[in-house]
Symmetry: C2
DNA sequence: CTCCGTTCTTGACAAACATCAATAACTGAG
DNA sequence: CTCAGTTATTGATGTTTGTCAAGAACGGAG
C-alpha cells in the first residue's frame, strides 16, 4: 500500500531497505468520497496528504467571492497545506474531485516519527525541497507564459487533467474566466 | 555578524542559546559589488544565500529573450536556488542589484553541519517550510490579483522596493511590460 | 424519458495589456 | 559640462481578456 510513496521518494533520494520498511510500516491510509472537503478556508490544517488514488483540488475564495484554483493533485502527489502545523486559519480549501485514497500525516505523528526514527527528518526535508522546487517551477512557468501557452503546456505535460477536471476549474487554474478558456480552445482547434 | 539570521529564525522557531551559538559559529560571510552575477542560467547552483545587506534579484530569460523577474531578495531574506544541490543547470539568474553582504552555504558544508550538529537539520527543515509558505502565498497573491492590485500591494507592504529597483524590472515582476506599468502609475496618480 | 441544475459555449461591447515607434529624463564616464 | 547609454514616458493601434446576458449541451435524480 505504501509502495507508491516509496516509488515517489525513490525518484528523488536513495532509500535503504530499512527506510523503505519504515515508510511502509508508518503510513496511515484513508478513503474519501467525491466532493469531500479535506480542509476548509478558515479551519486549522492539521493533516498533510499523499494521493494514492483520485485527484484533489486546492483553491481559495477571495473577497469578491472569486474562486482561484491553486493546484490539482493527482496520484503520486504530496499535499502540504500552506498553514500545516500552524495555529492560523487556512487560506485554502482542499476538495476531492473524485473518490480518493490518501495517506494521512499530522504534526504529532510526524514528531513521534522524528523521535523514533531520526532518518525520517532527512526524508521529510528532502521531500520539502522537492515540493519547493516544483512550486517555484510552476510559479515561474505561470509568470513566463500567457494563458494560451499555459493551456498548451498542460495539454502536453498533463493531458489527463483535461478529462478529469471541469473546464471552469481549469480556467481559474490558468488565471482566466471560463468564457475566455472556451474561446481560447476554439481558436486553437480552428488554427489546426 | 550572524545576528540577522538568528533574528530571522527566531521569528519562526524558538532557538536555544546553544543553537544560536552554533549558527553564529558556522556562518560564512562574503561581500559582492553591484551587478555581480551570483548564478547564471545554465550553470550549476552550488550555493545558497542569506542577505545581510543589499538586494538580490532572481530572474529568468525565456525562448523569446524575455526577462522575467522571479523575486527580489532584500535584507533578511534567504535565497535557495531552484536547482540548489542538484546536478542540473540553473533556470535562473541571481544578480546583485546593489553592493551586497551575504551569508553563504553549500550542500557539502550543510551535510557536514548535519553530521556534526543533528539539530541543524530541524532548523533547516523549518526554514524550508517557512520559505515554502511564503512562496505559495506570493503565488496565490499573484493569481488572485490584477497587475494594478499587485502594484498597490507592493506600495503598501514593500514600499522601499520602489526606491531600490528600476521600474522595468518591477514591471517584469508584476507580469506586465514597462509601458503598461508606466500607464498604470499615471492612472493611479490622476485618480488621487 | 423527462426535468432540473450544472457546465459550457456564443455574442456584443468595454477595459487592460502588448506592440511598435518616437521622444524625454536620467546617469555615469570622461 | 557634455555625450552616450540606459531607463522611463507617451502616442497610436491591435489583440486578448473581462463582463453581462442568453442559449446549448450535459448529467444525474426521479
Amino acid at each position: 500500500m505504501g509502495n507508491e510513496v516509496i516509488s515517489y521518494l525513490s525518484k528523488h533520494i536513495k532509500l535503504s531497505p530499512r527506510q523503505k520498511e519504515l515508510i511502509e510500516k508508518c503510513t496511515i491510509v484513508k478513503s474519501y468520497t467525491k466532493e469531500t472537503m479535506l480542509l476548509r478556508q478558515g479551519n486549522i490544517a492539521n493533516e498533510s496528504y499523499f494521493v494514492l488514488k483520485g485527484i484533489v483540488r486546492s483553491y481559495a475564495i477571495d473577497d469578491n467571492e472569486q474562486e482561484t484554483t491553486i493546484e490539482f493533485y493527482p496520484e503520486e502527489q504530496a499535499i502540504i497545506p500552506l498553514t500545516y502545523g500552524k495555529r492560523i486559519p487556512s487560506t485554502h480549501f482542499l476538495e476531492c474531485l473524485e473518490d480518493c485514497t490518501l495517506i494521512i500525516n499530522n504534526p504529532e505523528y510526524e514528531q513521534e516519527m522524528f523521535a523514533k526514527y531520526p532518518e525520517f527528518e532527512s526524508i521529510c526535508r528532502v521531500m520539502g525541497e522537492v515540493m519547493m522546487a516544483q512550486l517555484q517551477e510552476s510559479f515561474t512557468d505561470y509568470k513566463t507564459r500567457k494563458p494560451e501557452e499555459r493551456y498548451l503546456h498542460i495539454m502536453e505535460h498533463r493531458p489527463t487533467l483535461l478529462q478529469r477536471v471541469p473546464l471552469y476549474q481549469l480556467a481559474s487554474y490558468l488565471g482566466i474566466k471560463p468564457e475566455s478558456l472556451s474561446r481560447l480552445r476554439k481558436r486553437l482547434t480552428k488554427n489546426n
